[in-house]
Symmetry: C2
Subunit: 208 residues, 2 copies
């Protein structure tokens, strides 16, 4: 039995093993949990991003019954009051990169923000903790490789490249996802003992 | 005990008693059920309209444990591949009537359809039956009273008035909601005995 095997399990509910590796790299080897991923079908609720992430996390906990994290991503157009938001995947599928631009044709404001929320639920009956990473930018005609979602139409502020045109290291450093992950990793590092205790108590968990 | 009280209960999960009265009027006094409404918070899932209505109906059944109907409405822009669809309420809130038009400014196609789905679940472990009413039309600058949702921006085909400008009788006759209700009422009338039997058996229920 290795040291890793003695640690409590933290389950990342995702069907994408690359996402697990990304989290593992960021939290490092001295992470207090043994990280694993499971692919479980989770309900996707309507609502604002924080609500959707929290509800998804609760549903994930009910399925795996062990400390759990989930991730949810939004692309929010300021001209549309934050929409499509969590519905961006349906819009990308429905209208494509060109359509996402066309939806803003009638508006002067092309600004948008990409938002990633990691939600962590340590135990039963506990409200999930949310780690929110946000990157401001604007919606532009698609540039760069088109294999990863809406990356080609999002150009972060301070850059002349879209997400899709950026090297992954550079993107991770400023991306909504990188920022959310960094917040979560920082939390686990600075609250390791508290997290362990709370996981045992499984109550009165509050955000710090 | 009146005759009405002897009938089995069919619960319409809605917080709006006007909707209950509308259903009661359409199905008539000889309806096989005693209709009542209850206001229960139901989860709203993401997905296509049929999926959303079916899941909402299952959740409703799990709460009330008696035969149940729910309703879900979509406004689907053809240029956006059917979106905003079930998310229309969030978009109306986020961008208003003017914004719904502006979202289509970049597209030549302003056509849309309004869709209402009534979902009926007669018993445990049974897939809900869906009654779908659809009205084709187009999105126009808002005209008419603004107190009822997106009615001012939807002009049904064959009319020069928006939903909001129509008298309620005329609107009900051609509306997505009126059509879905008529289908449901027709089903209950023509399958009364089968519905009674299946409600008792609570299994092998299939759409006709």
């Amino acid at each position: 039995m290795s040291d890793q095997d003695k640690k409590p399990v933290l389950t990342f509910v995702t069907g994408n093993p690359n996402k697990l590796r990304e989290v593992q790299q960021i939290v490092g080897d001295d992470f207090m949990f043994q990280l694993q991923n499971v692919a479980v079908d989770l309900p996707e609720y309507q609502g604002d991003p924080a609500h959707v992430a929290a509800e998804k996390c609760k549903a994930a906990y009910q399925q795996v019954k062990t400390p759990v994290i989930v991730e949810d991503t939004s692309l929010c157009f300021n001209a549309l009051g934050g929409l499509p938001g969590v519905y961006i995947k349906w819009f990308l599928k429905g209208v494509g990169h060109d359509g996402l631009n066309k939806m803003l044709a009638g508006f002067d404001d092309k600004t948008a923000y990409a938002q990633c929320i990691f939600a962590f639920q340590p135990g039963e009956g506990v409200e999930p903790l949310l780690f929110i990473g946000r990157t401001d930018g604007k919606i532009v005609p698609a540039r760069g490789p088109t294999h990863f979602g809406w990356d080609p139409v999002f150009q972060p502020d301070g850059f002349h490249t879209t997400y899709a045109e950026m090297e992954s290291d550079a993107k991770n450093a400023i991306s909504h996802r990188g920022r959310a992950l960094a917040k979560m990793a920082e939390f686990f590092k600075s609250h390791a003992r508290e997290v362990s205790e709370r996981m045992t108590l499984e109550k009165d968990w509050t955000t710090s």
